[in-house]
Structure formats: C-alpha cells, structure tokens
C-alpha cells in the first residue's frame, strides 16, 4: 500500500486553467442572477433529506467507522432505490469525528448550522456520544446514536438523543449473565476498557451476576489506548471460573493474543464480548487458544444454518460474505456484531419521518414524537438482526442477543436470548422533557 504514495510529478499546481475559471465565474454570475432557476424549482418535492453521519474515520474507532460507513451507504442506497423518504432522496453527509468527544460536538454543530442537516446519526463510541449529545440537545437536532452505551436509557442525555437501532450494554449483559452463571461458572473476573462503555459492563454485569448468585471477584480496567496488555493478566485472581473480557481500540488483537500467551492450555472458561475481536479474523495466528470459548455477538458474524433471509439480504447489500468478511477482500473483516445498528437506525429514521409527514427542520419535534411512538419492529429487511421493541420513554430499543462458541475456525451460535431477557425498569421518561 505504501508504494502508492509516490507523488505524481508533472501536474500543474492546480488543475484550474484561466479559461475554466472564467467559465466558472460566468456560471456563478448567471446562477446568482437567477436564484430560483435551479435550486428551488423542486425544493419541496425532491430536495434530499440530509442525514449528518458522524463517523469514526480516524482514531481508535476507525475499523468500526469503516464498516459503519459501508453499512450506512448500503442502507441509504436501498432506501433511495425504493423511493427515498416521503418521496425525497436521502443524502448522507459524513464527517469524521476522530473518535474524539470534543470533535464530536463540533461535528454535530457543523451538521446543524453549516450543512443544514435534518438529523445527525451514527455515533458509536460512548465517550463521543456523551460529548456530542448535549450540543445536539441545545441545537434541537435529532441525534440517532448507534452506540450500545446505557447513557441514553439511563437518562443522562436529552430528548433529542435516541438509540432505536442497537441494544444497550445494560440489557446485553443482563441477558448474558444467567447463561454465563448456569453454563460457565459463578466466579467471574472482568477485563474492560476504562471509559463509559467499559464502566457500563462493569456495573451492570456485576449486578446481573449477583442476581444469579454469582460474583465478580476481579475488575481489571484497561485504558482504551493501551497497546500492551500482558501486565494486566497477573491481576486475575486465583479461583476465577470465568474470564469476562471486552476490549476496544487498535490493540484488541494484541490483547487477545497476549491473553493466550499468558494462559496457554490452562485457561479458565472465557466469555468475551466480540468487541474484543471486531474487525479481526478469529483465525489469526495466536488465537488458537480461543477454541471452545464463548462470545457475545450482537449479530452473528458467520452465517448460521438458522439465519433468516433478511440477514442474507442485508449481508449481500452491505457486501459481506458468509464468514463476515468483505466480499472484495477476505482479509477485511467486518464489525458485523454492531454495524447492523446503522442499517436499522436509518430505517427507523425513515419510518419516523414518514409517519410524522416530515418536510424539513421545522418538523424535527414531530419526528422525535413519531419515533417515540414506535413500539414493535418486526424482523424484516429493515430489521435484519431480528425483531425489536422500542421504548419511547427511555429512547432505547431492546432485542435478541447471541452467544456463539468458537469451533472449527468459526463462531457458532449456541444461544439466542429472548427480547424480554434484556428488560429493566425505566430510569427516565424523556417524553416529559420539553421539545
């Protein structure tokens, strides 16, 4: 890849010739004279609906960003092919947030004030969501996140922030805990990234295990930018039945590899969130020790015998093969367990805009109310991960979770939770907040 950086030599400094510049100037002058000629002729009927896409192109979330981007483009293409939203095409305006909360807030502001976006959408990393959501609330721009964090349903954010396309960590770990306690063991040590997302895992899984009569005997927090992990493993207490790991960032493969080096064949049961290996081939050298271990998956990376036709449709549209890799490059592994959230969220935006009769930014409040009134989402092309239930009060969706076991170089689903397994008491009623 590096050889392609060679600069091209003989090009002029700029590709603009004097003639082109004059023509351009003339064109600009003409369109200035006739303002209504091109731009407004069809504004009401077919001007695009602009969806600001806050994407982690760079920074520690980059591999997620790449696939969130592909999924979002595929979903937008599909929506446009089938007539758009309210007959208007969807335009995705992507802006890199560098997986950085401060930049995230700026990006949201840019969508609202500069791009004239109708809604903002797509953020994954919880610290970026938490950094951006207050600005979205102030600007009163609907902000649809695809983040898994419990911060939406916990009431920490505001009425303009919604998570209708992916379940939150609290609900995920709560539906995992009974299975872990029943099948793997009661004494758990957790390894998690040291920021909001990891803290959600720590707090809610500990509580859920305690409810099952289990106990979390070790809690090991690792900074998400860490690049060397070996030093953390000695902190795993003796007597650990189950090692629970969830890690994010560019070092995930190193993390899992070093875990293998540390344990060798004498490992405890291992239950991981696939986040630890998203965008990484589970057959990478050094990961052999994972054979027989278990993973949570939001959506099964490997196509299963029981996979639905909706999953097959979605896989084909996004360009992912049956092993979860890009159809163009088998080395390019997708973030399959998470990225469906972008696809489904875009479809929720479409559903909300259509039922609100959305025409422009003046109808943003109507859009929020329309999405809040959504409840059941059936498994369909719009919801390929499976059926879901949306809670309009907490702005959070609930759905099925998957537990897969590593076997024969694949992830094989061994358990699918019921939607109700992830329910918990409402912690907020956003609908009581003013719009």
């Amino acid at each position: 890849m590096v050889e392609s950086v060679r600069p091209k030599r003989k090009q002029p400094v700029s590709g603009v010739t004097r003639r082109k510049a004059l023509v351009g100037l003339g064109g600009a002058a003409v369109s200035g004279v006739l303002p209504g000629f091109v731009r407004y002729a069809q504004a009401q009927s077919s001007a695009p609906i602009k969806i600001g896409f806050q994407v982690h192109r760079t920074g520690i979330g980059a591999s997620y960003g790449r696939w969130y981007d592909r999924t979002t483009k595929a979903a937008a293409l599909l929506i446009n092919e089938s007539g758009g939203i309210n007959g208007r095409p969807v335009e995705i305006i992507a802006e890199d947030d560098g997986t950085d909360p401060k930049r995230g807030a700026e990006v949201v502001e840019k969508f609202a004030t500069q791009h004239g976006a109708d809604v903002a959408f797509g953020t994954l990393f919880s610290h970026v969501v938490i950094g951006s959501a207050p600005r979205a609330g102030e600007l009163k721009i609907p902000y649809f996140v695809v983040s898994e964090g419990h911060h939406v349903a916990s009431g920490m954010l505001n009425r303009y922030t919604l998570q209708p396309g992916i379940t939150d960590v609290k609900s995920q770990v709560q539906s995992m805990a009974p299975w872990v306690a029943a099948n793997l063991g009661k004494k758990v040590t957790m390894i998690y990234p040291d920021f909001a997302f990891g803290h959600d895992h720590r707090d809610y899984f500990s509580a859920a295990m305690a409810a099952q009569g289990g106990e979390v005997i070790g809690k090991i927090a690792i900074p998400p930018t860490e690049s060397s992990f070996f030093k953390y493993f000695p902190k795993i207490p003796r007597g650990t039945d189950v090692l629970y790991h969830v890690m994010v960032g560019p070092g995930v493969l190193t993390f899992v590899k070093e875990m293998g080096e540390f344990f060798g064949s004498k490992r405890p049961e291992i239950f991981g969130f696939i986040d630890s290996l998203e965008a990484v081939n589970i057959n990478s050298p050094g990961l052999e020790f994972l054979e027989g271990s278990y993973f949570w998956e939001g959506n099964p990376r490997y196509a299963q015998a029981q996979s639905t036709k909706f999953d097959a449709f979605y896989r084909a549209k996004v360009g992912v093969d049956a092993t979860g890799a890009s159809v163009n490059d088998p080395k390019d592994i997708s973030t399959y367990a998470h990225m469906f959230g972008c696809w489904e969220t875009l479809h929720v935006i479409k559903q909300g805009m259509e039922s609100a009769g959305y025409r422009g930014p003046g109808d943003r409040a109507k859009l929020i109310e329309a999405v809040e009134s959504i409840t059941d989402m059936a498994a369909s092309q719009a919801h390929p991960q499976g059926a879901k239930l949306f809670n309009g009060k907490t702005h959070q969706v609930f759905g099925h979770q998957y537990i897969s076991q590593v076997g024969g170089g694949k992830l094989n689903v061994v358990h699918r939770t019921a939607i109700e397994d992830g329910f918990y008491k409402d912690e907020v009623d956003y609908t009581s907040q003013p719009l």
């Binding site: 590096v2 060397s228 030093k231 190193t254 344990f263």
Partner: protein, 293 residues
Amino acid sequence: MDFGPYFLLATLEGAVGAAVLALTALGLSLVFGVMRIVNVAHGAFFMLGAIIAWWVADTLGAGPMLSFLAALIISPLAVGAVAVLAERLILRRLNYNPESTIVATIGLLYVIEQVALMTYGPDARPVVAPIDFRVQLPWFGYSGYKLLVIAASIVVMLAVWWGLTRTRIGLMMRATQFDSETARAFAIPVDRVYGGVFAFGAMLAAIGAVLVVPIQQAHYLMGNDPLLLSFIVVIIGGLGSLRGTVLAAVIIGLSDGIISVFFSPTLAKIIATLVVAMILVIRPKGLFGTQSA
C-alpha cells in the same frame, strides 16, 4: 499470583519495554547530540518503520521468519531514505536552526501520520512473529519472541556503541558533536555527517518498531507513546549522552513495567513525568549530560 513470579513477570515486561525504548531513544539522542535538533518526528519514523514492516511482510507472503527478516532489513532502509530526504529538503534549508527545526519536524510528524492514514489506513494490522515459541514457566506463560526482542536490542546497541567508538565514521560523528566548526576545519564533511546521523537516528527507531510490531500491531498513531517516552529518557539521561540514554531507558522501561504491573500504567507515566521534572530542577544537564538542556 505470588510476589516472586509476579515480580519476575513485571521485570520481563519492563525489560521488553526498555529494550525497544532504548533503541528509539538512542536515535533521538544521537540526532540531538550531533545536530542539536529536537526531532519531534521521531515517533513518526517509528510508526513508519512498523507500517513498512507490515507492508513488506504482507507483500512478500513468505514464511513468518523470512518475511520478518526481510522487514528487518528493508524497513529501516526505507525509513532512513525518508529521513535523508527530509534532512536534505527541510532541515538543511533551515540551517538546522533549533527553533525552526522543531516546528518543521512537528509538520513532518503530521505529514507522515496523514500519509500513513491515507495509504495504510486507520486499522491496526499484525505481523506474525518470526518464532512461535511460548516459554511455559510454572506460574505463567511468556512469549519467546519477547525474549528475542531483548536480545536483539542488546545486539543492536552494542553494534552502535562499537560503531561510534571504534570506526572512522563514529569518530567523525563524535568530532561533529564535540565542535562542528572545528570538525569542518579538519575537513570532516559536516553536512554529510548531519544527513547520515539524521537517517541513522530514524533507522534506529525503525528497528525498534520492526521488533515491536509482532508484539503490538502496526497502527498510524503508534508513534506517540514512544516519542513521549523517548523524550523523557533523553532528558533524564542527559541530552546527547548515549550512555545516559541507555541507562535512563533501562530505568524508565523497567520502572514503567514494574509500576504498571503492581499499580497502574497511568501511575507509571505520572511518575516518569515527575522524575523528568525533578531531574530538570536538580540536574538540568541530566544524569550524564555535558551541555545544559
């Protein structure tokens, strides 16, 4: 885990860190010592070394050993070539002015980082270790490759020491470091020495990166930590002092390893930074420095 094995693990981890850090910091220290240039782009050269190593291993597609050896040769050469270019096109034109070169190397850092991002992409990619060997100790397992890294780093450092003290080129470098004008008067091609030293410093960083890439992975932001730690090491050791640099790298590397195992990695960084501040107050020249910082 009992204290004994725990301490052993901490020391091993620290030694691996120290080995890589010593190489990287040595490069930074050489460049400063001879050229009086604070090379902020040093971390970028480190990162470039890792990325080129991945590229060589991936393109070659040979066995892990062969790919790794090829990377170990090609990557430092390529990084050295980039450094020579940077020296000729940028630093020389600034007459090696200390302030301007700081700004220029900051710019270079961004350029290299962005080019890496635009071509190599934002992903972390692994290079397979040349030896797949796991040392099973009674209490925990340890990667055999990491032990190899320590050995390789010692060999490279000995070679650098030998080159500086026993060869003609080393003599020219030392003469330039001691007094560049007098060296010029004795017909030492100071300009070429500068170019060579800058390239050599970058190559040392690249060697460190190639050694580390089977442990970590190549990533476009991976140069930041080594840069910071290298500066800490060079300041503690005494700017321009090779002996001090190596000693400081061992101290910082080991203490970083041990503190992060027993307490937390953040505390290790806090303590390292605190030590730098104290050293600047008490011994502004560093442990072995000959000129003030």
